[in-house]
Symmetry: C2
Subunit: 434 residues, 2 copies
């Protein structure tokens, strides 16, 4: 057996502590699977004395993670600190510059600096693994990079944020509002004290940017993503979705179109019978459409210490086995700049919920405005709420359109607004076909 | 860029022809992804002149696949002939003995000779890839071998035969009998003229044997699998499953138990809300339970030329990238003999459908026989068929048990039979928990 693979681990939160436990528990199996002993030799964390249920005394201690990253006594630097910049970035860059391989779970870092770091890793002939940065325990990076090497991907989409999926699942299951669900999620530790990064879709966007680069061989472009969060989703939308055969999910979608690569994160109506619609709670799922494999879906835990650490270990095992692939599957210099398809060119079906003043001809006028733009309707439902008086107030009108474009929908809704029939801004949710 | 990777492809049926097309279409992408040009240089097939929509004139032709396997002018022998023995086996052994890497889609070959062939490949320092042998386009081999390297697997199970899943899905959707569905499947080309290999569960068993070896690090033991097919499933079972919150799927299940490794293939009641219950038609799915990742499910096409060829290409790409892992993730000599847990020790819930003579006390007597063996019942449903006369004939009684053992169920049913209350042999279907 070759010499041990020496790891330096920086960051001992949930994932870091789980990693140390897995490496202990699976030491013999990992040696058999990789042909090398894998040994943590040094660690770094903010607080050495925090209770972690792991014996840290056997490891060399570095108070400065950058110093650990630069240590000549490690072969792999495992970055579990987090954050796009600051000490995580400094440490990873130091390790790579030093010719030390890096494994990270840091989506923000890879989304922002992945291209630069990949080039650095390739120049130095070392590995940069980030399987854990997207969808926790789901091996989506290796699937795109290795298993689909013979495929041309046309679309990759998924549920990439457990907090949002938990909230949407619970709103539907218990018929409670977004605000109540968010508070419950915070209480259970599924949502941060400041939840805007999750529920605003930005966390999903970081992950999507990484998947896009792998799926389409493009440079990472997190700023070229149209992002909407789930804050605006109401119980009325959830009920209408259910009635019309859909379910609402926050999806990240990257798609090859005539206009370029479309990247978008938004609440989405998915057919209730689709695999992705079955994914409830904090679970994540990713579906890939590609020319040879057609459709492949991976479902698993998107977060959690042990599941995320499982992905970290798979990257470490690849390094122990001697794998030194370009981090994005092709050399970083071969990644093409992303040609962005603007969201205005998006084509698909739409769900539109309008609050319409209860006047004769309102629904007909709305339908006419859609027809003016050649938008064909799959369904139009107008229903007075139980107990409401005729003419008393606004009534909901729900439209489902066949495939049209974002631009035309915008124009038609502007006309509807100008007609003075609607009481509130329209609720518009894109429909994703299977 | 390094020298081209030269492929010899034997067998040009659906998968072989799709492989040649993918290698043409993706030539540039594969070169970028692997750092080498991948070039088919020689081929072999039963019939050179069959219409295939691919230009074969540019390849050297071998009428004898074994001669192709032994050719010094190829780096990888791609075996798409099929069959556990005969020419496929001779060709693969020849290639490996010659120091030529092998990629195969042949589940029967790997299930029967995988251990020997893996040892041979390791001795010669070459690769033996068989991603395509299980679940078509789903990358389950790499997921178990690479992505879950840090996990201890407790169970792997799945829908591994598209024909059976198609038949069961259609029986449910259209309320037509097994025989009618089978005939339809044969007409559509989803089932062979002699369908017994698929519907009897043997195809699933071959695939399961391969997954077991990878998941548990054991020698392949296709003869240590308890196999039942779907021939006995009736519309009455499908209706009862639906009513009780289950769906019937033919599953292959390998599970670590106190008694050893349990391997079984049988029609199974799965909770209707589980991911695996949503998989309809010819689609396949595999779920892995493991200590770190918890639960991971992969869903995709289990057959078809392009999807299966996608997996073949992923193995070829690994070889082009220089990967030479032990075929089963650990050296073949380190695979432990499989300690078989007999099906009699299986523990789980059971669905039992009895045809009971309509006499007073029959249901009570049956319930008592279950209680005698400490089998606790989740539900017992006795219902006269519409239009039937009281006392005229037998009535169906359906039991769902809580977890018990196969042995106790057998003993209790023997007693029930001896009591003379039932008109037909009982229908027993195991329930698989999520």
């Amino acid at each position: 057996m070759s010499s041990p693979l020496r790891l330096g681990v920086a960051g001992l939160g949930t994932v870091g502590a789980a990693l140390l436990k897995i490496l202990d528990r699976q030491a013999a199996a990992l040696a058999a699977r990789t042909g090398r002993h894998i040994a943590v030799t040094a660690i770094s964390a903010q607080n050495r004395d925090k209770a972690r249920d792991v014996d840290l005394a056997r490891f060399a201690w570095f108070s400065d993670p950058v110093a650990l990253a630069g240590s000549p006594d490690i072969d792999v630097f495992v970055e579990l600190i987090g954050g796009a910049d600051g000490v995580a970035y400094a440490a990873v860059e130091t390790a790579l510059s030093n010719g030390t391989s890096v494994v990270t779970a840091n989506k923000a870092l890879i989304a922002k600096h992945g291209l630069h770091l990949a080039k650095l890793a390739e120049t130095k002939g070392v590995a940069l693994g980030f399987e854990a940065s997207v969808a926790g325990g789901i091996p989506i990076i290796k699937t795109l990079r290795d298993s689909l090497a013979g495929n041309r991907v046309s679309r990759v989409y998924g549920i990439l944020n457990g907090t949002c999926n938990y909230i949407l699942s619970r709103m539907e299951a218990e018929q409670i509002s977004f605000g109540e669900c968010l508070a419950a999620a915070q209480k259970l530790g599924y949502a941060e004290a400041d939840p805007s990064f999750d529920i605003g879709g930005y966390d999903t966007a970081h992950k999507l940017a990484i998947l896009t680069a792998l799926a389409f061989g493009t440079e990472i472009a997190p700023d070229a993503i149209a992002v909407e969060g789930i804050e605006k989703i109401t119980l009325a939308d959830i009920a209408a979705a259910s009635e019309l055969g859909y379910r609402i999910k926050l999806l990240g979608v990257a798609e090859r179109t005539q206009a370029g690569i479309e990247q978008r994160v938004h609440p989405t109506m998915v057919p209730r019978s689709s695999p992705i619609a079955q994914v409830m709670g904090v679970t994540n799922a990713v579906t890939i459409d590609a020319d040879a494999v057609q459709e492949l879906t991976l479902v698993g835990p998107g977060a959690g210490g042990a599941a995320t650490a499982s992905s970290v270990v798979s990257d470490i095992a690849d390094i122990a086995r001697g794998l030194r692939l370009p981090p994005f599957g092709v050399p970083a210099n071969a990644l093409a700049p992303l040609r962005r398809a603007a969201i205005q060119t998006h084509e698909g079906g739409y769900y539109i919920r309008l609050s319409v003043f209860d006047r004769p001809g309102a629904a007909a006028a709305i339908a006419t405005r859609m027809a003016d733009r050649a938008i064909s309707l799959e369904s139009i439902v107008q229903r007075r709420r139980a107990g409401e008086q005729k003419g008393a107030s606004a009534v909901p009108v729900i439209l489902i359109t066949h495939a049209t474009s974002e631009k035309l929908i915008g124009e038609a809704l502007k006309d509807v607004l100008a007609d003075g029939f609607i009481a509130e801004p329209p609720q518009v949710i894109r429909i994703e076909r299977e």
